[in-house]
Symmetry: D2
Subunit: 360 residues, 4 copies
């Protein structure tokens, strides 16, 4: 063997060129020329920290409401957040899809189902019901609504005003894995009932109580997590902190995770969903996780640092956090934010890693 | 070998007697003489179906309140249901302990902890707080309160009236296994606070919401299951049935199981706890399970058949169900009943078996 | 309330007597008079440390071979070790049954199946095949053979000499739980084949290799653990120790646990099975576990201390270890011992506890 | 809203163009124009069925052995199979990396460790030891050797002849997830010992036997699966089939899966590894799975159909199977093949799906 580090001769270089050409012709590629890019010492995402302002998103969604119909084929009037570091895609991060969906007065979105896991989170408005496997689920400000994989779902706006919300899905992950199946359902709504509480909530929405006659599916049987409960849970954590008791993740920072009541695990198999509340004057720990996430400010305002970017943020603003990018959130008057991430994927595959920096 | 079935001779019988005597001297015992008793074709419990009436229990408990102090050593003024089929014990079934505990005005029961898993269920009254690892938990009608194994606990009556409730424990199981450890705590109450909601409820009592800052222990982190939630969950099942939707276990029969919100599994590792509601005119399926249980009527009235016994029952009445005894409950005006059982033990050991008979 | 500790008056004592009589009449029993016995501070087993010598057991078994037939009803010529602390039972410990089973030349034991979990361990001899669900399994010195719950099994001696082995079952546990079901099978053997290796071994007996076409049952699919593998695994641990590498549980003490290759967990759901080897001059750590066990010396000799008892032991001798009794084994020339215990029950129910004392 | 399906006017088209431009400026992308591509009705992989012949691969690897050194930075002389459907990558499938690695006489590859899970499979030759966390593991024909995530590893050829083998890793998956961490180790080998069996095999390589003194890590503790065991297990399945007993996955088709002996689950958390044997004249079922895989013929010859491609294959030939592509293997004289796939990822995320077609 001739070591190429010993100044290869012209002949050796020619042999090497020929070897690489033969590799290419044989559909082969050497590791040694690309090892560092393929296997970096720490995650080096193409995705970048990115911000989308609600004040931009919402008007664009409303304009599409004027120009673009909802119907079979396109299926949904949803506009995705496209991470600038992932050009040519419509992905917020390498694993997560985030979009604003807009449904005009009296509009309907037809039934379909798919492998991809989905949720809706409502930052403002109400009046739309999403029927999940025929069970009508009201959508209201602050609610998290689930559509686990292969659950039929359709939406309908029962009011004379439009409504918009955030969709989160694992489309990029499922696309990358070539794991997706998709089916179209009937054109006609399965139901037009508009109950205040869905049947799944009535069965499963009682703390610690399992309905023995309703067998638990693999996915969460609870499809709606209502703001009144989320708000109460976050408030309790900060009150307990004020009383000197544990419960917050760090000073002034309360977090609840949305879970499957039949297992206590993440509500969705591929997407973690959480609500964060920072109290007056609070600052989160600076945290890195292996894996990516998307946040949406739900109420209040503050400042967010993701890697080298710092933004002032307010209600409805969304931002993407690439893998291993440090995140810090600060607020003067208090801030509530919804977060979703691919943590369950990392945990299921033994890839989870977290680093918390004091940063003070 | 001489087959004893071929009319053994006198000599053979003498040899056999000598053999059995030598077995006994050697601390040995033949299987063949006792196989049927040790390994019956179906469970043949010593425990029998048995009923205890609240109208008997409560006055006896009250009399003990006059005569017997609560204090170190005896620890609790609790009077156990002793199954007549298990003489010499104070066991309701071979695995379960059930007792009425009585705490007089302003009385305290001192702190201790033990391997045995415990719960309290309140059929009437209020005014006592049980402090579980220093967290004061109010006890009120219809509530289920947990004390998982090795959790410090103490009780105190903050009122001028007595209060009684049901204790359930796995004392017989733990005694049989020689698994028990017990520790005495301080004589002085860890706290005299009397909050409406305990800290564990404030953290964990929100449906499907997990407090991220409060690591879940092996046992249930939720110690109190409040009647308002249980009642609402049972009512919803019967309403869904009336609307034509699934949810009940059989016509007119709603059931919720108390579960650990961090895992979705039974709230206690060795004891299943459930609340049953039979609607007006309902009749349960006739069901046998391998394993034993104890029921207490919480409200309403009806008739219960356990094996060959049938009793009319009303509020507070308790009955024990031996392993594999068929149980049927009937009611005209509706009936709520609390049930606890050793099902989790049978499931954990691969011994669970159920048989449902139509019985119509 | 009158405190009885303040020297009760004669009237009070009479009232108390009347109360206790009324308790008894109502099938009730006070906790406070028996709390210490029911809930001791550490396990206080009725079972005692006990030794059974092979030199006693085997001749008694042989005598029963002359006098007692094997047949339907008694089912097996098995003679149990009856713990002197558990009079009136045939239990080695509160959860475990241990017996010597003896099968004469050309004898057969007919098919049955039962809830109870069983194994055979062979301390000497060979020539019997046990058919487990129709799969003939040779029994040879040092082998562990399984019969998980509800597996049909029958034995037949294909030789002109008798054979004896140890049976282990969870009969006491299942009896206490009232969990047992038992079925008789056909009188005629399912097969008289005598292959060297059973079909389950041929499918599942390859290290780390799972047969994809053979779905794994809940119980272990591997029914035979052969001495050649056990011996090699123990030898390797001591060799690694001599080379300076980890692997032994303590100096000179090698242990392997028999596991279900489909799960890596205990081979049987209610009984732990292990083989221990102490090297020349070795002494085990002194260990207490919550839960009981039975040991049989397989080869070599040594001295065993269980609680307050110390015995010199040799091949075939068995001893019972009550819950929480400290065990120490010493040997000059080396000693192999088989151990079985109820550890999996304790682990499944959250009751496991271990204490290791240096004891030096 | 104006329905665009009703022949949009020129003005509407202009408004739509403007809307789409504004989307792009805001880093947004509409779902409705790309829904079908993102969420196809069945998986529509970019990866294609592809074949690499050993007769091409090996000489190219040997030429690189002349021209390219092994050393720090490039780390390994490994040449990857680059799927023609995934241009610009060196990926065999969207989740799997497959490469031929070549180590010249007396060469060493320096220590490193990484998040990526890796294995080696040896189709010919011997003489290299891979040290995994300091434990030297011989590599010989037919062996599967593991390097779970974050395990230090290094290779050294102890002979005067070169050796080549196949590396499999989850590099594409980990790259896509931005999950990778990588560390360089010392330049000097941790050990130059060349034992026939590694320490992990001596502890864990006994069927169904768990070393109690060696705590099981999260990853498989067994790093080497030897051909003698794999061969025997496959042979046994075909023999059992010939005797009329179950065990094969379909007529003439035996399969073993390499598993973690401490859990019975896949040996690696993100990669399934299996060995297949088709007997004389056998034909596999035609099977589709959601997820991708790579096969290497180990011995024998036959014909393989993947989707629309059919190839004659022999020893050493590799082929990639995209998600949901039907695979059929036929052989006249018998064929052994190693398969690895991303099945564990699909199972962990709830995305697994299989379809078997008779195809006769």
């Amino acid at each position: 063997m001739t070591a190429v580090t010993d100044e290869p001769t012209a002949e050796e270089l020619a042999q090497l060129d020929e070897l690489y050409a033969d590799f290419a012709a044989a559909n082969m590629a050497p590791l040694w020329t690309q090892r560092g890019g393929l296997m970096p010492q720490t995650p080096s995402p193409h995705a970048v920290p990115a911000l989308w302002r609600w004040s931009t998103l919402y008007p664009l969604a409303a304009r599409s409401g004027e120009l673009v119909p909802v119907g079979r084929g396109g299926e949904r009037r949803a506009i995705a957040l496209a991470n600038p570091g992932l050009p040519g895609t419509a992905y917020a991060t390498p694993t997560l899809w985030a979009a604003i969906q807009y449904l005009g007065p009296r509009e309907e979105a037809p039934a379909h189902r798919h492998t991809q896991t989905a949720f809706r989170f409502v930052v403002e408005g109400e009046g739309v019901w999403t029927n999940v496997v025929g069970d009508p689920v009201a959508m209201r400000r602050g609610d998290l609504l689930l559509t686990p994989g292969m659950h039929w779902h359709e939406h309908h706006n029962t009011t004379d005003h439009p409504m918009a919300w955030i969709d989160g899905l694992d489309i990029p992950l499922v696309r990358q894995l070539d794991a997706g199946f998709f089916e179209f359902g009937p054109e006609v709504l399965s139901t037009t009932e508009t109950p205040a509480a869905s049947r799944n909530e009535r069965l499963w929405g009682h703390p610690g109580l399992r309905p023995v006659g309703a067998p638990a599916p693999a996915a969460s049987p609870l499809m709606a997590y209502r703001w009144e409960h989320t708000d109460a849970a976050l408030a309790a954590q900060l009150e307990l902190e004020a009383e000197g008791h544990p419960g917050v993740v760090s000073p002034g920072h309360a977090v609840v995770r949305f879970t499957n009541p039949a297992t206590g695990r993440d509500a969705l198999s591929t997407i973690r969903t959480e609500m964060h509340r920072l109290g007056t004057g609070a600052r989160s720990l600076t945290t890195r996780v292996a894996g990516s996430g998307v946040w949406q400010v739900f109420s209040g305002s503050g400042s967010v640092t993701v890697g080298d970017e710092t933004w002032d943020v307010g209600t409805g603003d969304l931002f993407a956090v690439p893998s291993w990018a440090p995140v810090t959130i600060r607020t003067d008057g208090g801030l509530d934010a919804f977060r979703f991430s691919d943590d369950p994927v990392f945990e299921a595959l033994g890839l989870a890693r977290t680093s918390v920096e004091d940063g003070s």
